[in-house]
Symmetry: C2
Subunit: 301 residues, 2 copies
């Protein structure tokens, strides 16, 4: 089949990914068809050659592969109920590639929507990386779902990411669980760093020496980048990952653990700290600002 690609959702992650995909398609004399709930986000990618659809229906009629990048499970559920209503009326085979970080149960529900339409495919493909990595095509792409569909789309996934982890499973919930476990390592690392760096401040231990220690023992972009942000108090939003989104993810991790009879105490601790920030009206700050909660915390008497 000639692959004609639609894209729904141009948030910070979606826009970065879609721009890279549009560049790749342009090199093949093709183009994306994009749609976003709030229309202002489409200008930049339109200049790069993407076609702006008038509606979700317009995306479906112009595409046979449709990527979605949405902010939370409710948005995913709403968009997929529309997509299913449209898809169930056409014999044209469609592949849906859902890239958002959602609870595994939602991924399964999406896939089951299409059980009655065996001509269609649903892939769950969450991505690892911050918006800066999305813009730089440096994401790690996680693929789950129908093997043939994944194989067909690998060149397109590759245009948006530095590597592809193919989980080789049709159980799309696994990719969502995997993404939550990966994000758990990241948020746990933030919590750890915030506790250690704020203790260093209070115990009058040289902050630069602690940063040097981190560079020596954990010389990875995440450790070095976040510890510098925290020590320098530059936990603004630019290129970052908001507390509100972090809370959504950590909530899903806690739920995943509960679903499987596991315990995840570090996620509980990080959730509590991120919630303090949200309650203070700081839900749009980068989630590394959780160090400020530790700075303000005092031990129970």
């Amino acid at each position: 089949m000639a692959v004609k690609i639609g894209w729904i959702g141009l948030g910070e992650m979606g826009l970065g990914m879609a721009v890279n995909l549009q560049k790749y398609l342009a090199s093949q004399s093709s183009h994306l068809t994009v749609w976003n709930r709030s229309p202002g986000k489409t200008d930049m990618i339109q200049k790069q050659g993407a076609h702006v659809a008038s509606s979700i229906e317009d995306v479906v009629s112009r595409s046979n592969v449709i990527f979605t990048s949405l902010s939370n499970d409710a948005a995913v559920e709403s968009v997929y109920s529309q997509l299913f209503a449209l898809a169930s009326q056409t014999q044209k085979p469609l592949i849906f590639v859902e890239t958002s970080t959602i609870h595994p149960t939602q991924a399964t529900k999406n896939a089951q929507l299409f059980d009655s339409c065996p001509q269609h495919r649903y892939l769950q493909c969450p991505v690892f990386g911050r918006p800066t990595a999305a813009h730089a095509a440096q994401l790690v792409w996680i693929a789950s779902g129908n093997a043939d569909a994944i194989e067909t789309l690998k060149p397109y996934f590759g245009a948006m990411s530095k590597s592809i982890v193919d989980l080789k499973t049709t159980d799309v919930s696994r990719a969502s669980s995997f993404k939550l476990i990966g994000n758990f390592f990241v948020v746990g690392m933030l919590e750890l760093m915030a506790e250690g760096l704020s203790l260093a401040e209070k115990a009058d231990v040289d902050q630069q020496a602690v940063l040097q220690l981190i560079e020596t023992f954990f010389p990875t972009p995440a450790w070095i980048g976040y510890s510098r942000k925290m020590a320098e108090n530059s936990t603004t939003k630019a290129g970052g990952f908001a507390v509100d989104l972090g809370l959504k993810d950590v909530g899903h991790m806690k739920q995943l653990a509960a679903d499987h009879g596991a315990v995840l105490p570090t996620a509980e601790v990080a959730y509590k700290h991120l919630k303090v920030l949200q309650d203070q009206g700081k839900g749009d700050q980068d989630w590394s600002s959780l160090i400020n909660v530790l700075r303000d915390a005092t031990p129970p008497q």
Copy 2:
């Protein structure tokens, strides 16, 4: 002065360090004078040319620089009360280099012992690295105390380590606080890994994919080494770090936080899990075995 070096304490860390120092001294036509509470440990280093002292008194009479590597604060307190009693009877200037992981208050107490003997110097120089790193001279050496004494000894420190972090402070408690904060990052990482990997097992997420994720995002020896140990269930003691020692360290971290009005919830969680292992009679296992506590844990009803 001609530097004549004594070494007290030949545990897993001490032996590795002392052997490297002995090799260096041999290249200078010199040798270590060693002493260990249990005598069996001295055979190997004696074959490499070290002199085995008959007593702590013998070490002091033959040396003007004395390194100590001991298992806990009680051992440090006991050895230093003997060392001080001997040192206070000699005008020969002595430099003591204490390398153990102890509470900052104990480091300060040791240093204060020598206040009445200004001819002597006390340095607190904890080291980062596992016993394998000690044997390979790949430790990270942390130096605090008198600047001239540190400068004099840097070649000897260098013979045992890959890098030296000079905290440039005479407040020897800072080096101990710094070491505890560094160890906090390590134990927190273990806790995090154990929670995430055991959740992956329970949620039926492909373990190899999770290990691959860790290699992609946290490509450091500690993350990769410990996650493989945990996944492969090879948390034996060889070359490792025992639960008992981990509990001592984490207890100190908790105390350090309490001393300074800081909170360290991740240390509290890790402490609880390591304590379960100790209570099960597994205090001599490598501390990465804390994943087994998470595997067995069930959420509160």
